[in-house]
């Protein structure tokens, strides 16, 4: 290692106080500068932090944005989410392979380019999309790719690919992005006009306990997908023993098909900060963290500058709004490309500089969270809503939606529809209404809640978005009649296998078995017993997995078996003998035939 690199790495470690809990930040900085984290770098970091190098490798190998092998100066990550693939993502990948002369997963010999696939980057409304280092390029076609590569080769600057900005704050000089907000429906809460900081002003005029009560009275439930009552979470955190408490904003939306938080971060970041301050006040936390998914790094400078401005305005820092004893500040923690970190306890692990493994519960984060302190983890949309509730009162919020599901929900609508984008609907809206509004007339299926949710068939389009029917973090993906739904279910299953942390047996080993048999069924080699196998295996994985990822990983298969059975029946051929269709006798004999140097006489090859 050259002395400069060494000095740089030691400098980075020391900048973070050689603090083991800041390992994510240290590794991220070194990755960006050196384009990889070498074994030597791991040794150096370990020595500086007083840990073992295998612990550094443990973290580096967990996050897809970190690499042990040198990456190109420019890393092109082509999103291979289902929606991107439906809109030509695979052709874009192939065009990059051709233009760069490498395959996905490789780096050019001159060390200038690396080409990779990446799961959903939160741009399904403008797919196919790619990340070029931190720069997002959207609505691509294969035809544009040679010119893009030429620009990159000439300038070496990903930002040179952005010739048109996407509107709203995407035009801000600190973002300068071609990403579009695609806000299609401004509802009555989050996207409605409001008075800035009114919620925060209202909160500080109340006792913290009363703020918590107000959120409970409003009936607000977590908007990230799990739907846990927000007020209750706050109450647990507030009442937990400990002087030091944390509020963490989960900005790691990774559920394929979800992009609502991207729009809130871009257009409503002051509202989010206001909501976070309200939450900090309510639970007695002085420290807030925004865990921002690595894919949204293009927003980081912008968000940091707003935080700085708010500090100057007395809206963050000490004595907020002049209120004695109300101190609250926010730092941004960047993620490293791991879906599992959207799970609140995995997110806390990641903030602590660890692998993104979910934690054992109990204790719950409210009792023992970040660094062992009581912690409330809330989604971006939830925290934005909090400020709105304080501004208008719990009753006004409760009056919206249904009796069981109060308020409004942001939906990220994408796939085969005329107007993909963000829609704010009151809870209780039916799929029919959503499909009509987004211009989807002939949907074969709608995936509600992303792949961890449910594939719904047209006979059930009268079902509604709410906690007692279709509960969702907001992803709504529409599939037209020409889509191969089962192939899509298989691609989503691949996503979960790729994103499993590997901690528990069923999610790590079971999902792989699930995929194997599912492929057999897809290839027409399955029969009823294979479907029974999938349902039983799926039930075991669902019931015994340690966290929500494993518990929902088989949903793409299980919900298509439940709601689209005819698609499976169409693939089944009646076996022509007593053999199981999924058993390939010729494949099983192949190795033995090779060893014996002759073909089987009992099962002679017909071709």
């Amino acid at each position: 290692m050259n002395p400069e690199a060494k000095a740089f790495m030691i400098g980075v470690c020391r900048e973070y106080g050689s603090d083991r809990t800041r390992l994510m930040d240290i590794v991220r900085r070194i990755q960006e500068q050196e384009r990889h984290v070498s074994l030597e770098a791991m040794e150096l970091i370990a020595e500086e932090l007083g840990i073992e190098s295998v612990e550094v490798r443990s973290l580096v190998s967990f996050y897809s944005f970190f690499s042990e092998k040198p990456q190109g100066k420019i890393v092109i990550r082509v999103c291979n989410d289902v929606v991107d693939l439906m809109q030509g993502g695979a052709e874009v990948s192939r065009a990059f392979e051709a233009a760069l002369g490498i395959l996905v997963g490789q780096t050019t010999a001159d060390g200038k380019f690396t080409l990779e696939h990446t799961p959903c980057i939160g741009m399904c409304d403008q797919a196919p999309a790619i990340l070029v280092n931190h720069v997002v390029c959207t609505r691509l076609s294969a035809a544009q790719v040679p010119r893009m590569v030429e620009i990159l080769k000439r300038t070496g600057d990903p930002q040179a690919l952005v010739t048109q900005y996407g509107g709203g704050n995407n035009e801000d000089e600190r973002i300068r992005s071609m990403v579009q907000n695609s806000i299609r429906r401004e509802g009555e809460v989050l996207l409605a006009p409001r008075e800035a900081e009114a919620g925060l002003r209202q909160a500080v005029a109340m006792q913290p306990e009363d703020v918590v009560r107000s959120i409970k009275d409003a009936g607000l439930r977590g908007c990230g997908g799990a739907g846990f009552p927000t007020g209750m979470k706050w109450e647990f955190t507030r009442k937990a023993a400990g002087d030091r408490k944390f509020l963490i904003c989960n900005a790691d939306e990774g559920e394929p098909g979800t992009f609502k938080d991207r729009v809130l971060l871009t257009e409503k970041f002051d509202l989010l900060c206001e909501g976070m301050a309200v939450a900090g006040y309510a639970i007695g936390a002085q420290e807030g963290i925004i865990y921002l998914r690595g894919e949204y790094a293009y927003l980081q400078a912008f968000l940091e500058s707003i935080l700085a401005r708010r500090r100057k305005e007395g809206l963050l820092g000490t004595e907020i709004l002049g209120q004695k004893g109300f101190d609250f500040d926010i730092r941004i923690q960047m993620g490293g490309g791991a879906y599992i970190c959207g799970e609140e306890s995995a997110l806390i692990s990641s903030c602590e500089g660890l692998r993104g493994d979910p934690k054992t519960r109990p204790p719950f984060p409210a009792q023992k969270g970040y660094l062992g302190c009581p912690t409330s983890v809330n989604n971006v949309e939830t925290l934005c809503t909090v400020a709105c509730i304080l501004e208008r009162g719990a009753d006004a919020y409760r009056a919206l939606g249904t009796s069981q599901s109060a308020g409004t929900k942001l939906l990220s609508v994408s796939g085969d529809c005329e107007w993909p984008g963000i829609y704010e609907f009151p809870f209780g809206v039916s799929l029919h209404e959503i499909l009509q509004e987004c211009g989807a007339t002939d949907a074969q299926a709608v995936l509600v809640g992303g792949p961890s949710g449910t594939f719904v068939d047209p006979a059930q389009f009268n079902r509604t978005i709410c906690f007692s029917d279709l509960s969702t973090g907001g992803a709504v993906v529409v599939f037209g009649p020409h889509r191969n739904l089962l192939r899509i279910a298989g691609e989503y299953l691949d996503f979960f296998i790729e994103e499993s942390c590997g901690y528990c047996t069923p999610c790590r080993a079971g999902t792989v078995l699930m995929k194997q048999r599912f492929e057999e069924v897809l290839a027409g080699r399955g029969n009823q017993s294979d479907l029974d196998y999938l349902v039983e295996l799926g039930r075991t994985i669902k019931s015994t997995s340690r966290c929500g990822l494993g518990q929902t990983a088989c949903n793409p298969v299980l919900t298509t078996i439940a709601n689209f059975r005819p698609l499976y029946s169409a693939l089944q051929k009646a076996p022509d003998d007593n053999h199981k269709a999924s058993f390939d006798i010729y494949g099983a004999l192949r190795d033995h035939e090779a060893l014996a140097g002759r073909t089987s006489e009992i099962f002679p090859h017909t071709n």
């Binding site: 295998v54 967990f62 078995l513």
Partner: protein, 234 residues
């Protein structure tokens, strides 16, 4: 509100627990068997193998991590739960390369023991036959990842009891594996034959050299009955 005893039931039997005890600890104290694999007394329960899963008040959870609560109704030895356990143990068998007849841990292997206990004769899932590494560099200890079930006992024992952190996990999902210092062989690490980690492995991944057949096959822990007591490990 502090009580000095917690009373709850497991399969209808009344069990008492000390505050802070888990369902598994209380069951062990009451001589009620809950099949288990990754759990090792003295370590923080890992809860990764999921074999000790029980239904508590209708909800599935691992008994090694679940605190006993007053009045809790726990289902343990039911057909539904044992079926889940068999599936989990099956998954562990096919995920790695567990060739019992050629493994010197056979008879003392806890994976094998729990499989006997659950009545597994052959796995119902297809073998995956992964390619895994072995390391025979250390003079006294042999490392065979073919048999690793990722239970984390060695990771925790080395870190928390030996204070060495010889082992950690790298990778994620199906690619997760046990690892030692990058670029090193086992012989290059601080691992010593007297370390507690050597006796922590439930399967044949971490083995002492030259003592594999000191106890003959047929006279080992699980050779006569599925789970006599806790397995013998020095």
């Amino acid at each position: 509100m502090s009580k000095d005893k917690i009373t709850f039931t497991i399969d209808g039997c009344e069990v008492t627990a000390q505050p802070g005890q888990t369902v598994m600890q209380a069951a062990d104290a009451a001589n009620i068997r809950i099949p288990q694999l990754c759990y090792l007394e003295g370590l923080t329960p890992h809860g990764s193998c999921r074999v000790c899963i029980v239904k508590a008040n209708g909800r599935l959870d691992t008994s090694c991590t679940l605190p006993a609560v007053e009045g809790m109704v726990v289902e343990n030895n039911t057909e539904e739960i044992n079926e889940y356990r068999r599936d989990l143990v099956d998954m562990l068998f096919v995920e790695g390369n567990h060739i019992c007849p050629s493994c010197e841990k056979s008879g003392d292997c806890e994976l094998q023991g729990v499989a006997y206990e659950l009545g597994i004769t052959a796995p119902k899932y297809p073998y995956q036959f992964p390619r895994r590494e072995t390391d025979a560099s250390h003079p006294d200890i042999f490392l065979d990842l073919n048999r690793c079930i990722l239970c984390a006992r060695c990771v925790q024992t080395s870190r928390d009891l030996d204070g060495k952190t010889v082992f950690e996990f790298v990778g994620r999902g199906p690619d997760k594996k046990l690892a030692i210092r990058p670029g090193a062989r086992l012989a290059d690490t601080e691992l010593d034959i007297t370390d507690q980690v050597v006796g922590s492995c439930p399967v044949g991944t971490i083995l002492k050299k030259r003592v594999g057949f000191a106890v003959p096959v047929g006279e080992r822990t699980y050779d006569k009955e599925p789970h006599p007591e806790q397995p013998v490990s020095e």
